[in-house]
């Protein structure tokens, strides 16, 4: 933890890491660049940076659809379902990580197995239910759906992270008179910050990118960015640049969320807590 790395090593790693990062990021970079091209430049793969920059695609897009309405829905849906997910999953993961029984593993696997049903298979039943309860095109209905479909993942992730935390620290808090809620939110949660941060990030992304239910169960009031994108994929005529602009708009907010949560994905905190 306290050993210096040699400057050569650091330089080497810097080059390697940036190269890998660049390669992995390249398709997105290309999309962002393309979004500033004219449609004719967009289909010429030899134009990397040497093109005339234009913002016309963004203007065109905003003229067609109200980006912010979709954005706000995406924000509501992903944050809402994530919040709901955490409220349900933190206790559940705590239970399975720190009070395991013979059946814990089965329960965990069963949770995952609820995700095995192909979504289309459940489409008609769910659609009928939504019609029945008047939930179509409502944010709340969709938040609930996104919450349940991601719940197994959230539980799983938290479970793994919680498992790494020495149980004795929780015991200490019990001795210190903390009740269950305090144990969970004052002691466990802060210790698991990196894990919870990546879980939140993951869940937000999954909810943000969920493109089946969000398309089928919304029309306008609750339609998120997936619907926004669906209105830009493959229109007639050249569309790479406009598609890129729309994609950039759809990715940008979550990249920003990623940027902030990235700082939370810090080194594990348990070091030094127990012998």
């Amino acid at each position: 933890m306290a050993r210096r790395v040699t400057p050569q090593w650091k330089t080497g790693m810097t080059i390697l890491a940036w190269a890998v990062g660049f390669l992995i990021f390249f398709p997105i970079l290309w999309t962002i660049l393309t979004s500033f091209k004219t449609e004719n430049d967009a289909i010429d793969p030899s134009k990397f940076l040497g093109f005339t920059w234009t913002g016309e695609n963004y203007v065109a897009i905003q003229e067609q659809r109200n980006y912010f309405a979709f954005l706000m829905n995406s924000v509501y849906l992903s944050l809402g379902s994530t919040l709901l997910g955490l409220i349900f999953a933190i206790p559940a993961a705590w239970a399975m990580a720190f009070s395991p029984t013979k059946r814990t593993k089965d329960v965990l696997l069963w949770m995952l197995s609820t995700k095995m049903m192909p979504a289309v298979g459940a489409l008609v039943p769910i659609y009928l239910l939504f019609v029945r309860f008047g939930l179509l095109d409502s944010r709340i209905g969709l938040i609930v759906v996104l919450f349940v479909i991601n719940l197994p993942i959230v539980v799983w992730m938290l479970y793994t992270y919680f498992k790494e935390i020495p149980g004795e620290i929780l015991e200490a808090s019990r001795m210190d008179g903390a009740n269950l809620r305090q144990e969970l939110f004052k002691v466990l949660a802060p210790m698991a910050v990196p894990g919870i941060a990546s879980t939140i990030l993951l869940n937000v992304i999954l909810a943000w990118n969920e493109a089946f239910w969000t398309l089928y169960l919304t029309t306008t009031n609750a339609a998120p960015l997936t619907a926004f994108i669906a209105s830009f994929s493959s229109p007639q005529g050249l569309f790479y640049a406009k598609l890129s602009a729309a994609s950039t708009l759809a990715i940008a907010p979550i990249l920003i969320i990623g940027w902030f949560s990235q700082k939370q994905l810090v080194r594990g905190l348990t070091f030094g807590a127990v012998k």
Partner: protein, 334 residues
């Protein structure tokens, strides 16, 4: 302040029967020390009392109330963990303040109490550090601090001073004794340190493989160990055991003499042997002697006692300090 009673308490981990059956009564305000070999079940017993583990059988009551199924928070005991179990995301200050916060104390009270405890524990300079930036002993002190700021019904200390230096340890010993004298709170204290056990305890419980070997005041155990195990366990360096002719002379299967009751001389005495290694502690010198009958004993001499390896020496036990044991290892009446 609480009385704690264990009735037929048992604990198994899977197949391993760690605590076969323990009965124990701890009175209001008593200072009880658990001693026993490593792995004998001291920490487990503490955790059972704390409510951190379920008993496999039997009942635990506090103040006469059966608490066997009461969760830890409901038992109102404070504990210092052998492994410290600090909150890694909190500073020293927050760690110590945590139980007070849980008890809903006011900010000023908390502040005052934390400052006080930190002062006692020499932690004032470290209040804003996180546990990972502390030395081993400092971490242990934080763990102690966290336990002593509250006013619980009883304290459970699991080797709380093991990583402290002698001076600090003496201080802390006095602090804890004083705390006890002040609050008259029941305390259960696990230690491997003979000095701690002897000086702090009202009552020592000697454990061995999950069984109570003997319960009594420190001097009682020192002077009248019930059996070979207790005799060998209490006192450091441990009691010398002699069998054969030397023992028969006292009509016993085995006799025990503590090093401090074995006078050493170069001129003459009851038992003859050859000096082995001498350990010079400064205050005392422990001479390891190989008796002519092949038995190995240790005798205590003065701090500046010198004897060369291989020299013949003579040892004389203080007759009235001899402990006699029968074949089964039980002590025989004096």
């Amino acid at each position: 302040m609480a009385s704690i009673n264990l009735k037929d308490v048992q604990k198994r981990f899977g197949d391993a029967n760690i605590i076969p059956n323990i009965n124990l009564d701890i009175q209001h305000g008593e200072f009880v020390v658990f001693v026993g070999p490593s792995g004998c079940g001291k920490s487990t017993l503490l955790r059972l009392i704390a409510g951190l583990e379920d008993v496999s059988g039997g009942t635990i009551s506090i103040d006469g109330k059966d608490v066997t199924n009461v969760p830890p928070a409901g038992r109102q005991l404070a504990m210092v963990f052998q492994s410290y179990a600090l909150y890694p995301h909190m500073t020293v200050e927050q760690n110590i303040a945590f139980p007070l916060k849980m008890a809903g104390e006011s900010k000023e009270t908390i502040d005052k109490k934390v400052k006080g405890a930190a002062g006692t524990l020499n932690l004032t300079d470290y209040l804003h550090r996180k546990p990972r930036e502390l030395s081993g002993g400092q971490r242990q002190r934080v763990a102690i601090g966290r336990a002593i700021v509250r006013s619980p019904k009883g304290f459970l200390f699991d080797e709380p001073l093991s990583n402290l230096d002698a001076a600090l340890r003496v201080n802390m010993r006095l602090e804890i004794s004083e705390l006890h004298a002040q609050l008259k709170t029941t305390m259960i204290y696990v230690t491997h340190d003979q000095v701690e056990a002897m000086t702090m305890a009202d009552k020592i419980v000697v454990l061995n493989r999950g069984n109570v070997e003997q319960v009594g005041s420190p001097l009682e155990l020192y002077e009248n160990p019930r059996n070979l195990f207790v005799a060998g366990f209490i006192g450091s360096p441990k009691m010398n055991f002699l069998s054969g002719a030397a023992a028969e002379k006292y009509r016993a299967n085995t006799i025990g003499v503590r090093p401090e009751h074995l006078a050493i001389s170069k001129d003459g005495g009851e038992l003859k042997g050859t000096a082995g290694v001498s350990e010079h502690l400064g205050s005392d010198t422990f001479v390891h002697v190989k008796l002519d009958n092949g038995e190995q004993v240790t005798a205590r001499g003065l701090g500046d006692y010198r004897v060369s390896h291989g020299d013949p020496v003579y040892l004389t036990p203080e007759t009235n300090r001899i402990h006699r044991f029968d074949q089964a290892g039980s002590a025989l009446a004096a």
